[in-house]
Symmetry: C2
Subunit: 411 residues, 2 copies
């Protein structure tokens, strides 16, 4: 008898009909004899509705009360799913975060789980009940309701799976798994049966958003096997595992891209100690996150410095950098916000040489000019002109034969 934690997001429980469909899915799994904990988000739109109400009352709503307010969203869905399951003859019981109880610190609206009391859940599971838990919420040591922030339901599911030592944690979404790249860009994109946590982290942070990064990190830390599946269809989805040996032995697993970046360069910076921090300090002070950083020595006395930021922060970053340029007596600021970052990700590149040159050749063959390069142990990223996005992704997808099942094509 296996123990599973299933998590369904807001779209999956967005209407009475969909809640009933989730109940059918859960009942079918329960009928197989497995023990099931189901974690739910609020109905899609509900969190926004409640936030709007709060904003009408208070421009900057008190965070403690915001948590009291928002936590009602999941309380509604767990009650309704529990009813729907019992209507199907499947014994079920709902729990709020406080009831479980899922203890957190007191950082309202973005609390962190500190402890889960699994006694009630285990008793219900052993009594043959499906346990339905409100995601996204917990309770602090003083009994205050807390929430884990957006995407917190994934975290709840992973934390429960860790506490219960569940066999797998299933994250049901509107996609049927993790793909080698975005199928809207490359129709030959293939669903991966397995992917490592490290690869998933790189894929998520690079824009192939399937799961919240925090929940993936959390799952990796506690060795929780995550599986991404579709709420709306059958299929095995993609297993995200911490066992590298279990994964398909491909050179790379996928191609991620990010269209939200902009590039800024400051040239002719005096090459003295502390120049980098003088350039990036004011950017960080303005709460602008920096992604890639490259520093080239132009000549003996000066250096060029390039970095990328989110496009939303582009104008602000440009203003700050222009000031810094004057203060440092540097040459000039040049910018480009019509760029994309394309990355190949795979644990396979650890043990295979020549991946980078294969990547650069594939891009060169299509006459795609590379503007920046950054590498990590399992990822190589390049920045190219945004007009080349589709071409670059498809060229790399073909070069690394991602459309083919590696179990068949490789020895």
């Amino acid at each position: 008898m296996a123990v599973y934690v299933f998590k369904f997001g807001g779209t999956s429980v967005g209407s009475v009909e969909r809640i009933k469909a989730v109940a059918e899915k859960v009942k079918a799994a329960h009928d197989k004899g497995d023990q099931l904990v189901v974690v739910l988000s609020a109905m899609s739109g509900e969190t926004n509705r409640l936030t709007d109400l709060a904003m009408q009352v208070q421009q900057a709503p008190v965070s403690r009360e915001m948590d009291v307010l928002l936590s009602t969203g999941e309380q509604v869905t767990v009650a309704l799913l529990s009813m729907a399951l019992q209507e199907l003859g499947c014994p079920a019981r709902s729990y709020t975060g406080s009831q479980v109880r899922i203890e957190t610190d007191s950082t309202h609206t973005k609390a962190r789980i500190t402890h889960i009391d699994d006694a009630k859940i285990k008793a219900d599971l052993n009594a043959g009940k499906v346990v339905v838990v409100a995601g996204f919420q917990g309770v602090d040591e003083h009994g205050n309701i807390t929430t884990l922030g957006r995407g917190g339901s994934d975290t709840t599911a992973v934390a429960l799976a860790a506490a219960l030592k569940a066999d797998e944690c299933h994250i049901y979404t509107d996609v049927d798994g993790v793909y080698t790249t975005d199928p809207r860009v490359e129709p030959n994109a293939r669903r991966l049966d397995k992917i490592t946590f490290e690869e998933m982290l790189e894929m998520s942070s690079l824009g192939s958003k399937v799961l919240q990064i925090r929940s993936v990190e959390f799952a990796g830390k506690y060795n929780v096997a995550l599986r991404v599946l579709s709420s709306f269809s059958e299929g095995r989805g993609t297993l995200i595992t911490y066992e590298e040996s279990e994964v398909e032995q491909a050179l790379i697993s996928g191609i991620a891209f990010n269209k939200d970046e902009a590039k800024l360069t400051i040239t002719g910076v005096p090459d003295i100690p502390g120049a980098a921090s003088k350039i990036l300090g004011p950017i960080a002070d303005a709460n602008i996150e920096i992604d890639m950083i490259i520093q080239n020595v132009a000549d003996d006395a000066t250096t060029d410095f390039t970095f990328t930021v989110h496009r939303n922060d582009f104008d602000k970053a440009k203003d700050i950098l222009t000031c810094t340029c004057r203060e440092l007596g540097a040459g000039a600021v040049t910018t480009d916000n019509r760029i994309v970052k394309v990355s190949i990700v795979g644990v396979g590149m650890r043990s295979h040489a020549g991946i980078a040159s294969k990547m650069f050749k594939a891009l060169a063959d299509e006459a795609i000019n590379i503007k920046m390069i950054a590498t990590s142990e399992i990822k190589i990223s390049v920045v190219v002109d945004e007009k080349y996005l589709e071409l670059a992704v498809r060229a790399l997808h073909a070069a690394f034969e991602l459309d083919k099942d590696p179990k068949v094509t490789q020895s």
Copy 2:
């Protein structure tokens, strides 16, 4: 420094604007230096919206889950009011029933309060905070969320007032107090400054619904001084007190009426022991509540038996009584569902003779025929043809000079 419990119903918190208005009212009271606990219902319409969702999922929703679902309604309003108060610079903190904690038995959807832990509330009050509590809900000994049933927010307010030994419990509604009768029937109806609990119970059960009967009974039991006031205007409202001596020394305090009754008579019943139970037993078995009962001996061997039921139960009661009539070998069944019950209520009638005859004379002067009479210690009720409702109420209102202030007109 006085301690008050304020309760606002669903209409009073039915929109963001109204919640802000409630916050202004509460802040004004807090600024006077009093300690305040505010009990809220769900926004008007919200309980129905949630019930509709549940009914779409399950024809007869599981009561435990219904309570989880419905309790979110008050959780939303307490969060929003707490925000609104803090926006006005008034320190405030919200509590769900579980958080307080308001302990109840495990009778879901109509639980009874068994214990209130006032430690957190008292600590907050002593720290100068307004405490905002979700009405209608509690928690059982196993940590399950319970609700007290419709009107339960009044009960929450009274129970908190009793636990905190509050000076007064203010019930804010859409009327500005208890009137001598319904002002829509008698424009000269006068707001009462005070009324006893006993009178209030008789007025409520007779159709002048201002408060839930259960909360009035509860208030009487625990000597909680209730005051009924308007959410939407200023004024002192009506104090409902258990001290008979405090009340205006009028003969009667008010005139209640009930348009929802129907009368059934069975004639020629053999006058033998057990006849009454043979007649009323099957009616009670069908869960039909009986209001007035009159038995007249018609001759030596037979008796006539008349009773009233709610109009909704009229057809069912008539069918049952027709069967009973055959079984008992009684004469016939006659019915009348175009009747109203009009009652005069007042603790003053205990110490004054001649009230009944004054009432009957006032009706006779208007040629109103009395079909049934029933009396209790502080109430006399008559059943008359429904077309005489307004005439009867106005005649009695004038006869007992209810439009005049008794402190001025009586010695």
